[in-house]
């Protein structure tokens, strides 16, 4: 008897929590279709804010910047992180404590300290050399820096899960070091590389604080634009662009569900 009321109570708590989790997002989505500017009253259904979105050059350029930044930084981080993940695995019996510290540093550092350090560094560097003006370049550098550890760890754990004698079998079967890399390492790593790229891409697109502090006047990304719009006062297009971003997340969630179901089969 007691167990049943406990379970009912827990179930109720679960649904309350779900409402708590999705309510803010639901409201944003709802009001993006609001025909008036009000944040409090829903008047009637309309797509006008979405129309305004498409005509807003700043948003389009911010979207473009976000994509370019995410793509370029993810690719660079993939290469560097893959190398370092392999090195960590291949030499795992050596004392590489300093390397572990370096790898965990970007993850552990609070993003505001990260962002401000980068900004201070780039500003002074720019003053001294005239290079690295705040812009997409500095943002890419900063993003790669926090993406590398994730890629390295994903690659490393993929290697650790392998049967070590596979490496030896490749040597035994006449593969030179270069051929081993091409015909054994890379194909084996493929799923890990794909998920590492996906993770890096997501981290980059979603990032605000670090991007904010390393951005230049022309290189606003989508989160930076939204931030600016919020600060200036609620512009109703924000609901629309936020809804689109929420939609992208929902799509990713559905895809990951399907992907997992397929993988299980």
């Amino acid at each position: 008897m007691r167990k049943r009321t406990l379970n009912r109570g827990l179930a109720g708590f679960w649904w309350l929590t779900l409402i708590f989790l999705y309510l803010p997002l639901a409201i944003v989505v709802l009001f993006s279709f609001n025909s008036t500017n009000s944040a409090a009253n829903f008047t009637s259904f309309s797509l006008r804010w979405y129309h305004r979105l498409l005509g807003n050059e700043q948003i389009i350029s911010a979207f473009y910047n976000s994509l370019v930044l995410a793509c370029v930084s993810s690719i660079v981080a993939l290469v560097i992180g893959c190398l370092i993940g392999y090195g960590m695995y291949r030499h795992r019996h050596r004392k590489l404590g300093w390397l572990i510290v370096l790898i965990y540093l970007p993850i552990v550092l609070p993003d505001i300290v990260f962002g401000i350090s980068e900004m201070a560094f780039f500003v002074q560097f720019n003053r001294l050399t005239g290079l690295l003006e705040p812009g997409l370049g500095t943002m890419i550098i900063a993003h790669v820096t926090f993406q590398i550890p994730f890629v390295a760890l994903i690659v490393y754990s993929r290697f650790v899960g392998l049967d070590p004698s596979l490496f030896e079998a490749a040597k035994d079967l006449y593969a030179s070091p270069f051929k081993r890399a091409l015909h054994f390492l890379l194909p084996t790593l493929k799923p890990a590389l794909i998920s590492a790229f996906f993770l890096s891409f997501t981290l980059s697109i979603d990032d605000f604080v670090i991007s904010f502090f390393t951005a230049g006047p022309e290189s606003a990304t989508l989160p930076i634009y939204i931030w600016g719009a919020i600060k200036k006062g609620v512009s109703p297009e924000i609901n629309a662009i936020a809804t689109l971003m929420i939609g992208a997340v929902a799509l990713a969630a559905i895809l990951s569900l399907l992907f997992n179901r397929q993988g299980r089969r």
């Binding site: 049967d163 004698s165 596979l166 030896e168 079998a169 490749a170 040597k171 035994d172 079967l173 006449y174 593969a175 030179s176 051929k179 015909h183 054994f184 194909p187 084996t188 493929k190």
Partner: protein, 378 residues
């Protein structure tokens, strides 16, 4: 590999084996020479402590010993996956100590099979050929040949994770053989299989080796497996070779107590005194053949259980012992008696020919021929 046989003979051989196979050409098998091999891991662990060994061309040679004796290390040095700290290795007369594994004509069947999970069975088989740069047509032909030779049938088109343990083992073997190495190395390839399959594959592997005429080096910790399959066995302990010999030599005349115990012998008795044709042991005084006698005063006496006769009649010249049956174990084709003689346990094995079995607690007379007593060093 060059084919010294004239074409006509080669053709008839092919006909005899029922179809052209990659391995129907006679092999020029390679011998292996190991000189003074030392291998150390870290600062403290000595894996191999001065190993000298010659393996004849075309032999099925087994490295036998308990875990940690160095047999796997030795095999890996043969493969090129480990480098010795000292010593030389020659295969087919050529010094290959410094040759990396991907340039040695040696292939390995790994204990875990090590099939590439991202490749199909066919691509696994062709991997070594591909790495050596052989064209696709050649590769396909050889894959078909080896598939027929090892009778893989439809397994070729499957994927690695669809295979059972026994099937994987055959693929691993085929993948190594397709490269036609000078030497084939096998690292406990049957240890993961169940007893029935294991027995069957032991015989198949032995047949295969004879048919190919290739030098096989096999590693196992199972003395029965070693005796069934090998031409010669090397018993190792703590990085040192204890004995090298044919299965009958190692079983019937073990070089020392370690080898005797490892081959499963229980009836070892410490020798306290030794004269011209007799020895004094815990069992009592026993005569043995002078040829078997040694100069040392100590050591062990080995009595194989199957050589003991139980019954009141003691043949002329035989040693006579009196004992009591403590346990009797019925093993179907044999009957195992655990006896006690002079307070010492003694095991006897009698073929089950339908004779009356001795009961537990019976006093029994035991005869053993002096020729069947073996002296074993400490």
């Amino acid at each position: 590999m060059s084919d010294p046989m004239p074409a006509a003979e080669a053709g008839s051989r092919e006909a005899a084996t029922g179809g052209a196979t990659v391995q129907s050409r006679p092999r020029e098998a390679s011998s292996i020479e190991l000189e003074g091999l030392h291998k150390r891991f870290g600062r403290d662990t000595v894996a191999l402590d001065g190993v000298d060994l010659t393996i004849e061309a075309g032999e099925f040679f087994t490295l036998l010993g308990p875990s940690g004796c160095g047999k796997t290390t030795l095999l890996r040095i043969l493969a090129g996956l480990e480098e010795p700290n000292d010593g030389r290795l020659k295969i087919g007369g050529k010094d290959v100590t410094d040759t990396p594994p991907h340039r040695r004509s040696v292939n390995t069947v790994f204990q875990s099979y090590a099939l590439f999970p991202h490749l199909s069975v066919r691509d696994n088989l062709a991997f070594g050929l591909r790495m050596r740069g052989e064209p696709a047509a050649e590769r396909n032909r050889k894959v078909a040949e080896v598939a027929e030779f090892i009778q893989l049938g439809s397994l070729i088109e499957r994927h690695v994770d669809q295979l059972s343990g026994g099937q994987r083992q055959r693929i691993a073997l085929a993948r190594a053989l397709i490269c036609e190495p000078d030497v084939l190395l096998l690292d406990e390839p049957l240890s993961a299989l169940d007893a029935g399959l294991r027995g069957q594959l032991q015989v198949e592997l032995q047949r295969l080796q004879k048919r190919l005429g290739m030098t096989f080096v096999f590693v196992t910790h199972d003395q029965d497996e070693a005796m069934v399959m090998s031409d010669r066995i090397a018993v190792l302990d703590s990085g040192i070779i204890q004995q090298v010999g044919t299965p009958s030599e190692v079983y019937e005349h073990p070089a020392n107590a370690f080898v005797a115990r490892f081959m499963g012998h229980d009836n070892l008795f410490a020798i306290s005194r030794s004269e011209a044709d007799w020895v004094e042991t815990e069992l009592g005084r026993l005569t043995l053949e002078p040829a078997e006698q040694r100069a040392e005063q100590d050591g062990w006496l080995l009595i194989r259980p199957e050589t003991l006769e139980l019954g009141p009649e003691v043949p002329e010249g035989y040693n006579r012992l009196e004992g009591i049956v403590r346990e009797r174990l019925y093993r179907g084709s044999r009957i195992e008696y655990r006896l006690e003689v002079n307070g010492q346990p003694l095991m006897a094995m009698a073929s089950n020919l339908g004779q009356r079995m001795h009961a537990v607690g019976d006093s029994v007379t035991i005869s053993v021929c002096p020729e069947d007593l073996v002296r074993v060093a400490s």
